[in-house]
Amino acid sequence: MKSIKQQLRRARLAVVALGLIGATPSAFAAGTDFGTDITNTASVNYSVSGVPQTAINSSPTGNSIPGTPGVPTTFKVDKKIIFVAEETNNAATVTSPGLTQVVTVFRVSNTSNGAQDYGLAADNIQPPAVIFGRTDDFDMSNFTYHISGAACSTATLTTPTFNSEPAVTHIEQLGEDACVYVFVRSDTPVSPTAANGLASTIRLKVTATTDASNGVTAEVETLALDNPAVVDVVFADAGVLNGNTVEDGISLAFDQYLVGTLTVTKTAAVISDGFSAAGQAKAIPGAILEYTITIQNNGLVTSGAALTELVPANTTYVANSTTLNGAAVSDVAGTMPYVSGGAISSPAAAAGVINPGSTAAEKAVVRFRVTIN
């Protein structure tokens, strides 16, 4: 008795060990398409009293009729929904107060084992942690969704340009191992809700939806036992970032709008002190200082950009020393023209217009000189 028990235990251990060895080979990223029937029929050959018998094929419930095809043991491959929505460029989209239909870009990748519909919905719900180092200051509105005509590769993330693609409600039958870029457009509130330097973080919620429901009917995971005859649904989506929940058939991605910002830098250099050699002038009384104010636009093209600047205390303005982008700017009321405020611009641009960019052709540069008292 004891030895049989021991044998049984050994056998059981062996089975467990085999289970551990079982590797999971994967020929394709997403695997066998859902809905595929997997069928199998066993056969037995045998003899009775030394006489070979006609082979018998199996059935799921047992077959003993020789020479018939038997009944294949069959099940359908179920649907394993895996997908992810991502923000594409890891940077905010620049907007300006009152600007409408401002485009942000997301990518939705489907690695389910078959084509899948995805519903699209954007809102102003916030991620668990701020993105791009900025808090959310205002809400965007009138979200619309557009699928980019640009080629999409799951291997490389790019940020295509909006090309007047029509508005849609959902992604229709995104293929296995395929992706699409989704443009979300929305309207910026007017000033002062949206003001220079303020940001709005938006959320794109992508939901796996049933085919032919126009992105309305969410897929529901099959909780009951497998029905071998139908395609059941299993959620396998990851959920590590941005408040995503694992295996819920929903992927959340966040992007941000930033109201265009101007950065202003101001430097001073001693031009001459009347004593030192060129290039070695010191800031002593009587020395001439030159201030350089550089305005760079990190946002959208501006209009009405103006600069107001004071002549520093303990200095005296050097008459007619002010320039904008190298061109002289006449004094106003006998002093530095920007004391009373004046338009600035990029070189070769109209007054008040500063083009976005960091090159010399885009930055506005104001210089003026003072004498240290």
């Binding site: 080979p25 695997g31 997997i38 037995v44 018998q53 020479g67 099940f75 179920d78 299993v234």
Partner: protein, 165 residues
């Protein structure tokens, strides 16, 4: 017309009988009931907290999922069946899990082409003119050859695991 068809059917049966003339039982019933089932393994914990596994009907089967195929042969005759040999393919869209085939009292052989069978250690394939040992994921068919006769009312079984591609 009907008469003609019946005659044709009869001829077909006769032809079939001639190919396999030695039938011990009635032509519509053999000595073995052959059953093939697909199941999955489920972890269970008993009242003592001991973990084990049991086979349950398939739950959701998705790519990467493991299925346990079991074929059982029951002798329903009053005489033993000899030279019992059971074949079970590794189905299309599935990959055999290495070392997973079991079958008490059976020699287990594998085939990559459904024609040539050999034990795991002896099975080879020719690739680019060179002969090498077949890899487990290349097996397309498993054969259990039972060493002893299958007594009346006795049952033999073979089992392997395969993963959905």
């Amino acid at each position: 017309m009907f008469k003609g068809k019946k005659i044709f059917g009869l001829v077909a049966i006769l032809a079939g009988s001639m190919i396999t003339p030695a039938i011990a039982q009635t032509p519509d019933k053999g000595c073995i009931v052959l059953k093939s089932v697909a199941e999955t393994e489920q972890a269970v914990v008993n009242a003592k907290g001991e973990k084990s596994t049991k086979l349950v009907p398939l739950s959701k089967v998705v790519p990467g999922g493991e299925v346990i195929w079991t074929v059982t042969a029951n002798n329903i005759c009053k005489v033993p069946s000899d030279k019992v040999s059971v074949d079970l393919p590794v189905p299309e869209h599935m990959t055999y899990v290495a070392s997973s085939a079991i079958g008490p009292g059976a020699d287990i052989q594998f085939s990559v082409d459904g024609k040539t069978f050999a034990a795991a250690d002896a099975l080879t394939v020719v690739e680019n003119g060179a002969t090498r040992k077949a890899r487990a994921e290349e097996y397309r068919r498993v054969r259990w050859t039972f060493k002893n006769s299958l007594a009346p009312e006795a049952q033999a079984f073979g089992r392997f695991r395969a993963v959905v591609n």
